[in-house]
Amino acid sequence: MNSNKDYKAIIIGAGPAGVGVAMKLYNSGIKSVLILDRNDKIGGIPSFYKREKGGVKTFMRWSRGAYPVFGQDFAKWLEKLISKTDIEVKLDSLVLEIDAKGKTVTFVNPKDGKLSVSAEAIIMASGSREENIAERKWLAGARPSRVMYTKQLLNFDKNDLLPIKKPLIIGSDVIAYAAAAKLKAAGSSDAIIVDNTSNPKCPIHERLYFRFWTNPSFHGFNAKTMEIEGKESATGIRVNGEHFDCDGIVISGELIPNSELALIGDLKVNVLSRIPVINKNNQLSEPGWFAAGNIRGGFHGAEWCYFNGKRTAVSVLKYINKK
């Protein structure tokens, strides 16, 4: 086949999903692969869950008999897989924009500056983030310091800093309970977990698992509004006339796909949920564009994303071979 593209495949994101795609493509004979990631290391979200002080195993290896691992170790495993191949990886490389028709991505990094590259197939594996305050719609109030997202908490971790001693967590899914466990393991008190649902979103067996570290109190509401308090740093929240005390707030969970590149690049995406339109062949709305992992919406663990990457790679292979 005669192609004027720079690569057979470009993967945006070196998290579990991106690495899954890359490995499957590589092992199936597609060697011309470029992975781009804006982080300074391979591994995506898991790479931020470190081992040391405050380390809690929050990643499940279901395929290996459901045993829990540290995120960092899962990320290292992904890194090792890649290191045994000659797949090209560019780190510190943020993809700025895409050209859907031209199958081109433009990225920037400290070495190349701004650069555009093209491929026959491009796979978006850019993961998800947590919904911000405004996006939750029922959160408002003051804007003190020490109101942070879980990712920020993890970032502190790398610097051996416990940013909150008396935590209040807003959101109640697995990520919230994992955050409560991490904080407690690092020396904070048991967290207060608050959400706008009557029961915690985190399933019971996961909650029992985190009991080993902490027993956070859960307070469920059906409130129109919840207000953050604090003139300087966060001091609590108000909800339905109740006040909860804290010295810092973690806004947690409620993942929203990192699909803005697709949206701005005219691929079909539901604007409000940010969930991209994906057909049964894992393709986005333009031929040659695919999506894998948590960019597809919902909450999935890292291993699921890795396998989803592999499954998506099968669709990519079909597409490339057909051409």
Partner: protein, 515 residues
């Protein structure tokens, strides 16, 4: 080149740059100031900038740990033409004048400004009748380039406007600008021209107010001598005026909440959509921002000074706001909100732009009620105040031939002119290609450049306003801690001591100020 003024921060803990710390009033020398400006909002900063063109000794005092952190930071960021101002008022005169000079001024200051125009939109019969009044008022205010449009004409130039549109008035010169950089730019230039600036310093009393040389007493206990005082303390001006016994007036905070939408919503409308104004407010508008987002707001909620939660957002008002704004632009309901915030105006019952010279004490000027147009009017208001200083407060002014009035080309913010677009810049300094804020695509070099800039900003919010890092859809999810780390490394401040907006707002509860 003239000598730079002193920049001092009242930063109590031990970790802050020693050379920038305000230890003692003697650091400012013992010659009394010709003019002390209290409040470094847009008005105080513009005044300092213009006074710095002359050979006078000026002090700018601000209680926050950055300039422009009061009312100035929470505005709609529109450079108004004054087409809808109350006729024959000082406000109308100043806004109209200033609007004409902003394009050139912005280019000097290196503040992005875009003339996008505005349309006052009528969506029912009653409003349609009012359009003539809006038009006539505009003409009377000297905004002669405005035009009446039919509903069909509005729809043609703004396809996403409500189907109900019955007509409009086009105001071509209404513009968007970066509200955050304006006070910074003014103050930076003033500092470079010799104005002394002290931050984190609240004026709490004035001694010898009737004497020729007065003494400012500050919350941190330091006393500073000055011949003249200009009170441009925004929401704090009434309290301050009571302290020195100025003529009585009443102000109250009027909250304005906003919704900010993600960038891909910014291109949905081309101009500022304005409702028919009422006696109380300009009403809820929908506008693109200079940054490429879309903004809806503000609300107008009056509270007494005693109301504690004045700068908070409320779910209920934001919901109403969204419904209101959707009347002009129905697709708003489908756009993703990425941020909510509240600004607070100072509403003066005695009227807007309430200015008193030699206010019961010789040498003191009180400025109050710069409510809804101060961003626009600031350069003209500053000149007006300089006139008063000369005519009524006996200030002699001689131009300073060494003074600068603009910032160099490399002061354009990184979000406006990204360094990574130029390969040589990346080769020279790889930090120009190291993105730290992914949503707004802000580089490490942008952050460091700001840390090294004249006002030496050290807080996360100060860096955010200057660079836009953290202003995007993820709201700091990815970049908050990495940026705190850059400040910590570059300025040798322990990470736990990095703060959002000064002492008491440290990002970690292990900060020494919490123990």
């Amino acid at each position: 080149m003239s000598k730079s003024g002193k920049l001092l921060y009242n930063w109590p803990d031990n970790n802050f740059d020693e050379s920038l710390k305000f230890h003692d009033a003697s650091q400012l020398g013992d010659i009394p100031y010709d003019v002390a400006i209290i409040g470094a909002g847009i008005v105080g900063s513009a005044l300092a900038y213009q006074l710095s063109q002359y050979k006078v000794k000026v002090l700018l005092v601000e209680k926050n740990y950055d300039v422009g952190e009061g009312t100035t930071k929470g505005s709609s960021a529109i450079i108004h033409t004054g087409f809808d101002a109350a006729i024959d008022t000082l406000e109308s005169e100043l806004v109209t004048k200033a609007s004409l000079e902003w394009p050139e001024l912005a280019a000097k200051l290196k503040i992005p400004l875009r003339k996008c125009g505005a349309i006052v939109i009528a969506i029912d019969e009653e409003q349609e009748i009012q359009l003539d009044k809006v038009y006539e008022k505009g003409i009377k205010n000297g905004v002669t380039d405005i035009q009446k449009l039919s509903g069909k004409e509005v729809k043609e130039i703004e396809p996403n406007v409500s189907e109900k549109v019955r007509g409009g008035v086009l105001v071509p010169r209404e513009s968007l600008a970066d509200p955050f950089s304006a006070s910074t730019a003014f103050s930076e230039i003033a500092l470079q021209n010799g104005t002394d600036i002290i931050l984190g310093v609240e004026v709490t009393a004035i001694e010898n107010k009737s004497e020729k040389i007065k003494t400012l007493v500050t919350a941190c206990g330091k006393k500073i001598k000055t011949k003249r005082i200009v009170n441009v303390a925004g929401l704090g001006s009434e309290h301050l005026a009571r302290i020195y016994g100025g003529e009585e007036f009443d102000t109250n905070p009027r909250r304005g909440q906003f919704l900010i939408f993600d960038k891909y919503s910014g291109s949905e409308i081309n101009r500022i959509f304005l409702p028919i104004p009422t006696a109380k407010t300009k009403g809820v508008l929908v506008a693109p921002t200079i940054f490429g987002n879309l903004l809806a707001g503000p609300t107008a909620e009056d509270y007494p000074h005693s109301y504690e939660n004045i700068s908070e957002t409320t779910t209920e008002q934001l919901q109403l706001l969204k419904e209101g704004a959707s009347k002009l632009y129905p697709k708003l309901q489908e756009q993703p909100v990425i941020n909510i915030f509240a600004g607070v105006r100072s509403n003066c019952k005695q009227g807007s732009y309430w200015i008193r010279c030699n206010d019961n004490s010789p040498g003191i000027i009180t400025v109050a009620g710069v409510r809804s147009t101060g961003f626009t009017s600031s350069p003209a208001l500053a000149r007006y105040l300089i006139g008063k200083l000369q005519d009524e407060l006996g200030l002699n002014l001689e131009e300073d031939p060494d003074a600068i009035d603009s910032r160099p080309e490399n002061k354009w913010p990184g979000w406006w002119k990204p360094g990574y677009n130029i390969k040589e810049l990346v080769d020279e300094n790889p930090d120009n290609g190291k993105i730290v804020c992914f949503c707004e695509q802000i580089t490490k070099a942008d952050v460091i450049r700001q840390l090294d800039s004249p006002l030496k900003p050290r807080t996360l919010d100060a860096i955010k306003r200057r660079t836009r890092a953290g202003m995007g859809r993820c709201q700091g999810f990815d970049c908050m801690v990495p940026i705190a780390k850059i400040i910590s490394d570059h300025c040798k401040i322990p990470l736990a001591e990095i703060s959002k907006r000064g002492p008491g707002t440290e990002i970690s509860s292990t900060s020494t100020s919490n123990n």
